[in-house]
């Protein structure tokens, strides 16, 4: 890594809260979306002439639509509880990466335009006009937030910086100041069906190749069906699973689980993406549009169950929002939702996470494993932020922590936990979530991974951990990229179903 122009944080013997380094990350900015991308998103191509007026207008609209934003703008008392909780602050010392200061970029504008004291005494209450400088600061620092919600765990009022970041990004989009990476992905998805822009025939080819590889490896005909009407399960998984390493190892694992359990399943080329970047930009409409593909595919294929593959923010959207966005869930009385509810099997949670699915089968004794096949691995588990703090698995609070661990322990013998303040609800983001997984933000990504890398280093040195399992496509891609910066092998990261894949008995071995 000789070519990078920034300093990689160094492991610390005694981790302490860093001293402030004002402006340390002020230069960090992603590429701005071009006119074509913006137009396809339905946003202005470039910064509109009356952007200040339009931004404030949009701000006002969002304050009326989102209670979260309205309450969070008013409630902060600057107590400082969150100041040392953000991975980007811990690794850069930039004070504007303290969650409260990040929110304050927006709150200062809120005060100026929407509150009496801010209109009368701006400097007294820290209110600011929305100038171009302030807007540029928004663009820089709201794209230094991975919307991981770690700060919201510690806030006495539950203020969630992710909500603030999403609103700010939405405002910037609406005045023609969008981020290239995220918006490009949404456009690709709407055209082709997945974030990677992998068209149907290519997907079919890939899956066929996969079947051949597995046949060669195991001698068993494990199938990866595509667009099969009448299948029991529709699997919606991040498109990275179709060809990126180590993601594909988990896809192999899902297929083996379906095979071993004898449950018919299918993928959909139309809905070949679990990821939903609409979340990152705070646009309800885009998030809904992306999710609608899953609804349409489910109705067309006539499936009874919907299962979601290993992807953090995708699971948050699926678990927490699909019922609301596209009527995929239970309990609704409106015709739109009832159409899908009638089709889906009410005996199962809709949607289910692949870990819930696998863990159910394990509990029913329908899967058998040769655990020793994973004995060359000493495994730890990285909780992905959106799963940990934005969703659940199973039927009790905290199931999202237990179930993936249960699956790992059912398929492997060597499991080690990382430091308690870095896992479960306190887990650290991989540094690449929330729409920053792009090479133009590589410095941010490398630095943001630092707190996780420190925790990993501890168990790697102490207990010989050589495999960090995770259930998020972004975590996998991010770690594969940044692990080498910290002296680790990039293959140290992998999926939970990669471990399942290694140990599972397919039932019909030759």
């Amino acid at each position: 890594m000789a070519d990078q122009a920034f300093k990689i944080p160094e492991y610390r013997e005694f981790p302490t809260i860093p001293a402030l380094v004002p402006g340390a990350m002020a230069h960090s900015k992603p590429y701005v979306a071009n006119e074509k991308i913006q137009a396809e998103m339905g946003f202005p191509g470039k910064l509109v002439d009356n952007w200040e007026e339009k931004a404030i207008e949009k701000f006002g609209e969002l304050l009326g639509k989102y209670r979260s934003l309205k309450v969070f703008m008013d409630s902060c008392v600057h107590c400082g509880a969150c100041t040392d909780k953000c991975h980007y602050f811990i690794s850069t010392g930039d004070p504007k990466n303290m969650p409260v200061a990040r929110q304050e970029l927006m709150r200062s504008v809120y005060r100026r335009y929407f509150t009496l004291p801010g209109k009368l005494f701006p400097s007294l209450v820290g209110a600011r006009d929305l100038t171009k400088e302030v807007l540029d600061e928004w663009f820089s620092y709201f794209w230094q937030c991975s919307e991981c919600r770690r700060c919201s765990v510690f806030c006495p009022y539950g203020i969630d910086t992710a909500e603030v970041t999403m609103a700010a990004r939405h405002i910037m989009d609406s005045i023609g100041y969008g981020q290239k990476y995220s918006n490009e992905i949404i456009v690709k998805l709407n055209k082709i069906g997945n974030n990677l822009g992998l068209p149907g025939p290519a997907l079919e080819n890939t899956l066929e190749g996969l079947e051949e590889d597995i046949k060669e490896d195991t001698g068993v005909d494990v199938k990866y069906p595509l667009n099969v009407k009448g299948a029991e399960v529709l699997l919606v998984t991040p498109s990275a699973d179709f060809f990126a390493e180590p993601h594909i190892e988990s896809l192999i694992g899902y297929g083996k689980v379906f095979h071993a359990a004898g449950i018919s399943w299918t993928l959909s080329s139309y809905a070949s993406e679990a990821g939903n970047f609409g979340l990152f930009n705070g646009s309800y409409e885009h998030m809904r549009e992306v999710a609608l593909r899953v609804r349409k595919a489910a109705l067309e294929l006539g499936v009874k169950r919907i299962v979601v593959g290993e992807c953090g923010h995708a699971w948050r959207v699926a678990y927490a929002f699909w019922n609301t966005l596209i009527g995929l869930g239970a309990g609704a009385k409106d015709p739109f939702a009832i159409e899908l509810q009638n089709q889906l099997d009410p005996r199962h949670m809709q949607p289910s996470h692949i870990c819930e699915f696998t863990w159910d089968l394990i509990q029913q004794g329908r899967l058998k494993f040769d655990k020793e096949k994973n004995d060359h691995r000493i495994i730890t588990f990285h909780d992905s932020c959106n799963v940990a703090r934005g969703s659940r698995m199973g039927n009790y609070a905290g199931g999202q922590f237990d179930i993936p661990r249960n699956v790992i322990k059912a398929v492997a013998n060597n499991y080690v936990e990382m430091a308690p303040d870095t896992i479960c609800e306190s887990t650290f983001c991989c540094g690449g979530g929330g729409g920053v997984l792009t090479d133009d933000l590589i410095e941010l990504r490398v630095k943001g991974a630092f707190p996780r890398m420190e925790a990993l280093k501890q168990v790697a040195d102490g207990q010989g951990v050589n495999f960090m399992a995770t259930i998020c496509a972004i975590c996998k891609a991010q770690f594969s990229k940044v692990l080498p910066y910290y002296g680790f092998d990039m293959r140290l990261v992998g999926g939970v179903h990669q471990l399942v894949s290694t140990a599972i008995r397919l039932g019909d071995e030759q």
Partner: protein
């Protein structure tokens, strides 16, 4: 001065009540279009009530975050709560029994309140991160609260005032029958500052008090697979 204070308190009372009521109405009418509790979150309504109770009585999240802020913040708020209860005696005749029982605690709570505030203010100078995020109004708010606490302690312990007259004054205010207040500089300062606090309450960060109850990350039940959370404006999109 009596007349001035009487009018001021009527004004402060109206601004405080109407302002906070409007804010509560505003929070309540604004939809929460998505299920966003910070998980793990309770899966039942009673579970949410319990979570909220822990949040507002014990400051659970703050406890997890930072022990110093928790210590000073919790000390201040609990002491303030006792002090407010103690002050009910100026507005009730006869004084409610449970208020009378809590009287002595409320008296010493005044010191705890001042200590908590001093601790919180100290952090705004001593801790670099908190110094960075503090605005002038953050300091002034603490000064205001501290002066209220100190002036209250002052007229209790050092420069006694005629509290019977104070009580007659406030009982009178409640009946729209203005009674004379004894001239006392400490008392005037105390009352003026309290009125000021009431007036700025609905326009300031003190809105965290009603706000916490409306925080979706804390007050939502974790049940999105069982319940559809469709906001009216979002349902409208479905019709298009």
């Amino acid at each position: 001065m009596t007349m001035f204070l009487a009018i001021l308190f009527y004004l402060a009372f109206v601004i405080f009540v109407a302002g906070v009521a409007y804010k509560i109405y505003d929070y309540a009418r604004t939809p929460a279009p998505l299920s966003i509790p910070t998980t793990p979150a309770p899966t039942t309504q009673s579970g949410v009530a319990f979570r909220m109770a822990r949040e507002v009585v014990l400051f659970e999240s703050l406890f997890k975050a930072n022990l110093w802020i928790w210590l000073f913040g919790w000390l201040f708020h609990m002491a303030l709560f006792l002090v407010l209860i103690r002050h009910l005696r100026y507005f009730t005749e006869p004084v409610w029994n449970w208020v009378a029982i809590l009287q002595p605690f409320g008296m010493y709570a005044g010191f705890a309140m001042a200590a908590g505030l001093a601790g919180l203010w100290g952090r705004r100078f001593l801790v670099e991160r908190i110094r960075y995020i503090s605005t002038p109004s953050d300091h002034l708010m603490l000064v205001l609260l501290l002066l209220i606490a100190l002036s209250g302690l002052g007229i209790k312990f050092f420069m006694h005032t005629d509290i019977t007259a104070v009580k007659v004054f406030f009982l009178g205010l409640m009946m729209f029958d203005i009674q004379p207040l004894s001239a006392h500089i400490g008392l005037y300062v105390h009352l003026l500052l309290v009125a000021l606090l009431m007036i700025i309450f609905p326009f300031s960060k003190l809105l965290h008090a009603p706000g916490v109850f409306f925080s979706p990350t804390r007050n939502q039940v974790d049940n999105p697979r069982e319940v559809r959370h469709l906001a009216p404006w979002a349902a409208q999109i479905e019709k298009n």
